[in-house]
């Protein structure tokens, strides 16, 4: 696809209908626009779409396998993690990337990993709980 030179990745993704990618701050501060670029979480509001050329971009829309949610999504639902839900897509993608690199993170490692994803509803406790639960699910390979 083509994009004007000045269009950011979040603008292109939302134009294409990927509305899980939130346009929040446009300064890379809030993390609502998080996508995975070749498996690493990045803020799509502070990069141009052209910079993603040749990379694999994953949004929340691409996580579930048909009707089967990703274990991190399941964990977020089971623990009732989302409050307003604005940060959840980015938070989930960051967690997915962390668990691919580190299947058994400590709570501290989880907190460091989500440092770029701001949640203004919560104190982050349930988010960390959900990532811990997701890690257990993924290591066990089955629902608990």
């Amino acid at each position: 696809m083509d994009a004007p030179a000045g269009e950011t990745l979040v603008e292109v993704l939302r134009r294409l209908g990927f509305k899980s990618v939130k346009d929040g701050c446009y300064t890379g501060t809030c993390g609502g626009c998080t996508v995975l670029m070749d498996d690493r979480p990045v803020a799509s509001c502070i990069m141009l779409a052209a910079q993603a050329d040749g990379s694999r971009i994953t949004t929340l829309e691409g996580l579930a396998d048909g009707d089967k949610l990703h274990p991190v999504q399941e964990a977020f639902l089971e623990i009732n993690t989302p409050q307003c839900g604005f940060c959840s897509p980015g938070m989930i993608l960051t967690a997915v990337s962390l668990l691919r690199r580190n299947p058994n993170p400590t709570r501290e490692e989880i907190r460091e990993a989500i440092a770029g994803n701001t949640c203004r509803c919560s104190g982050y406790v349930k988010i960390v709980d959900a990532v811990v639960l997701a890690a257990e699910k993924m290591r066990g390979g089955a629902r608990r």
């Binding site: 004007p4 030179a5 000045g6 269009e7 950011t8 603008e11 446009y26 300064t27 890379g28 993390g31 998080t34 670029m37 690493r40 979480p41 990045v42 803020a43 509001c45 502070i46 990069m47 141009l48 052209a50 910079q51 050329d53 960051t94 460091e112 990993a113 440092a115 770029g116 994803n117």
Partner: protein, 282 residues
């Protein structure tokens, strides 16, 4: 949408430099873009993407660590580098957030040193050598780059080389901002070499205190040959604070920054002493 008229992926350093020279100020290099994309508000004729020039590897060997200028800052936190050059991990970990570090590059961070560059401070303390390509191609000690007006024109940073960790050496990095991930009000970095219980070498730098980072030779000179004591740390911190004229702005007053310089320099020095295996005597 930004008013960027053309986006060109440079296939070689020569192509990038040639374009920059041909177009002049209307053309800008783009590395990770994490400062550039959000904060440049004026139109740009041509953006030259320099992320695919092969400057994205880190090589450890011969007592040195050579960092490609467009390595992702997140990659400076790799476990093997943490051992070879601990300063990289310490400074990179405190730089913005993982989302930014996955795109941002050390070369870009240096080029934007007039913005709050954490790595410039860390590189000053570790005595990094900066390789610059372009019409004024050079390999230059970072403190000389600072004296000579930093980067300009078609200067393209390709590599940053630092000495690896040696026996009796330690590094420290301290930073204070509104929160963990915010831009610092003051950051400080120290590189220390201890021999026979005395300071054999010290390099100190502070950042975010004014428009450019500062290399604190006077404070470091005070330490040479001295025993590592609490009194010495206080002296170094005071001289450091005296030798800098900090910015007075909406983020912090000059007086508050001077206060913070003392504390950050003390913390960076203490961390460096600890890593060098030296206890600070009373």
């Amino acid at each position: 949408m930004k008013e960027f008229r053309q986006f060109v992926v440079a296939g070689s350093p020569e192509e990038a430099i040639g374009l920059k020279r041909a177009i002049g100020p209307g053309a800008l290099y783009l590395a990770g873009g994490t400062s550039f994309v959000p904060f440049i508000k004026t139109p740009v004729d041509v953006l030259i993407d320099i992320s695919k020039l092969g400057f994205s590897s880190v090589v450890v060997g011969g007592g040195k660590v050579a960092i490609g200028a467009t390595t992702r800052i997140a990659d400076l936190m790799a476990p093997e580098l943490r051992e070879a050059a601990p300063m990289l991990y310490k400074a990179a970990r405190r730089l913005a957030t993982p989302l930014v570090r996955n795109m941002a590059t050390p070369g870009g961070n240096l080029a934007y040193a007039f913005l709050p560059s954490d790595l410039a401070v860390a590189f000053l303390a570790t005595g990094a050598e900066i390789e610059v390509l372009g019409e004024r191609a050079r390999r230059v000690a970072i403190e000389d780059l600072l004296k000579d007006g930093w980067l300009a024109g078609d200067d393209l940073v390709s590599k940053i080389t630092l000495a690896g960790r040696g026996a009796g050496q330690g590094t420290g990095f301290a930073k204070f901002g509104k929160g963990e991930v915010d831009i610092a009000l003051v950051s400080a970095a120290a590189w220390l070499e201890v021999s026979d219980g005395g300071v054999a070498g010290l390099r100190l730098a502070v950042g975010q205190t004014s428009s450019m980072p500062a290399f604190l030779e006077e404070a470091a000179d005070k330490a040479r040959g001295e025993k590592v004591t609490r009194g010495l740390v206080e002296t170094i911190a005071s001289v450091a604070s005296e030798s800098v004229e900090p910015t007075n702005d909406h983020r912090a007053s000059a007086g508050y920054r001077k206060h913070l310089i003392k504390i950050m320099v003390s913390r960076a020095f203490a961390e460096a002493a600890g890593e060098a295996g030296t206890a600070i005597a009373d």
